[in-house]
Amino acid sequence: MEENAPLEREDAQLIEVRTAAIPHVVPTLRTIVADIAMRQDFDLDAVEDLRMAVDEACSMLLPSAADGKLTCVFSWIEGRIEVTVSVVSDRADHGDETGLSWQLLTALATSARRTVTPAEGRYLSRVQLVRESEATSS
């Protein structure tokens, strides 16, 4: 997924999941993020937050998936996890950023970005979220 441009750094680890855009895959995706976060030694609250953030990101995008596919890229590097969820949409609208999902997402992630870019007559609709491990190691 050239479009998905996750973490810029070469040495980042990456898992990409391509799946059907159906609600039933969401538990799998959030389990993946939780597992990554746990293994990156994120504190357990951050693990929970990421789990929820992925949930929200997916549910924001699922309804607009025009071709029934969803791509989720997890990438991580020392103390930082980035998740990019994307679908191909027929519409260019951003969805509203006052929605509850977005509010939650921005609260749960260290930073979150919503982008819609034209792609082959359709639009690539994306939610990117970054969570950094806040806890200093003791």
Partner: protein
């Protein structure tokens, strides 16, 4: 069936005695059994309360305790010489304990993992207090002196504790917004503020405003209906709205006007 509270006090030993004497098929057995169970429901509830934790619904516990009570009534043998309560309490507690041992995880997880998960939960609480933040898996491993992989495994196992219904997933999705402010709330406020002003308008103007904004009629339709020209409707509307706006400014909710 038989008297619940009130009526004559139940002589529990006598009932058990009678029960023991009765022939196997006697319909009276059912009656006595029922009465004995009802008599001790409060005991079951009390025991259930002792097992109460934040994870389990109280109703479920009471139900389990009641099953235990029914077992106790069925198994109690007055010939043994012990008091019924002395027999019932451990029977009911046992039933509750079995429940916790066997059924409180909605996904079956090996016992080793259950125990590991319990240790991790305890460590998590300890460490959260000590660190004033949630611990990391590595900190839990160090605290418990177990390999980090075990902590991963235990944490993952914890996810199986409570199954979530598939419907739940859909309900929680973003499309249903819970707790979002009603889109018409601001409107409602304005409407309330407008009401007294509308009431003070002359009859004809009020009617025009109502037809335009209440019924959504076009100015031409209103003109025909009220019997004036469309131009006049337009002028009247403009004047009326100006009046209302000025009135609203006084009441200080002018947003969106």
């Amino acid at each position: 069936m038989t008297n619940p509270a009130g009526g004559e006090p139940t002589d529990v030993p006598a009932l058990f005695h009678e029960l023991a004497e009765l022939p196997e098929r006697s319909p009276r057995r059912e009656e006595i059994r029922d009465r004995l169970v009802r008599e001790h429901l409060e005991l079951a509830r009390n025991l259930a309360r002792k097992f109460r934790n934040r994870d389990e619904a109280m109703d479920d516990l009471v139900q389990i305790a009641t099953v235990g009570l029914i077992h106790a009534v069925d198994r109690y043998d007055p010939a043994q010489g012990t008091d019924f309560l002395a027999f019932a309490v451990p029977t009911i507690s046992g039933e509750l304990r079995h429940h916790f041992r066997d059924n409180s995880w909605s996904v079956r997880v090996p016992r080793r993992l259950k125990e590991l998960n319990a240790t991790i939960s305890a460590a998590r609480e300890d460490l959260t207090v000590r660190l004033s933040r949630a611990p990391k898996p590595s900190e839990i491993a160090r605290h418990l002196d177990v390999p980090i992989e075990d902590v991963y495994e235990g944490l993952r196992a914890g996810q199986g504790r409570y199954g979530a219904s598939l419907d739940n997933l859909l309900e929680n999705s973003a499309h249903t917004r819970f707790g979002a402010p009603d889109a018409n709330l601001g409107q409602a406020e304005l409407r309330e503020a407008l009401r007294p002003m509308l009431d003070s308008l002359p009859e004809r103007e009020r009617k025009i405003v109502a037809l335009r904004f209440g019924s959504g009629m076009s100015q031409s339709d209103i003109a025909r209906r009220v019997g004036v020209s469309q131009m006049q409707v337009s002028r009247l509307l403009a004047a009326t709205l100006k009046k209302l706006r000025a009135g609203l400014a006084e009441t200080d909710i002018t947003e969106g006007t």
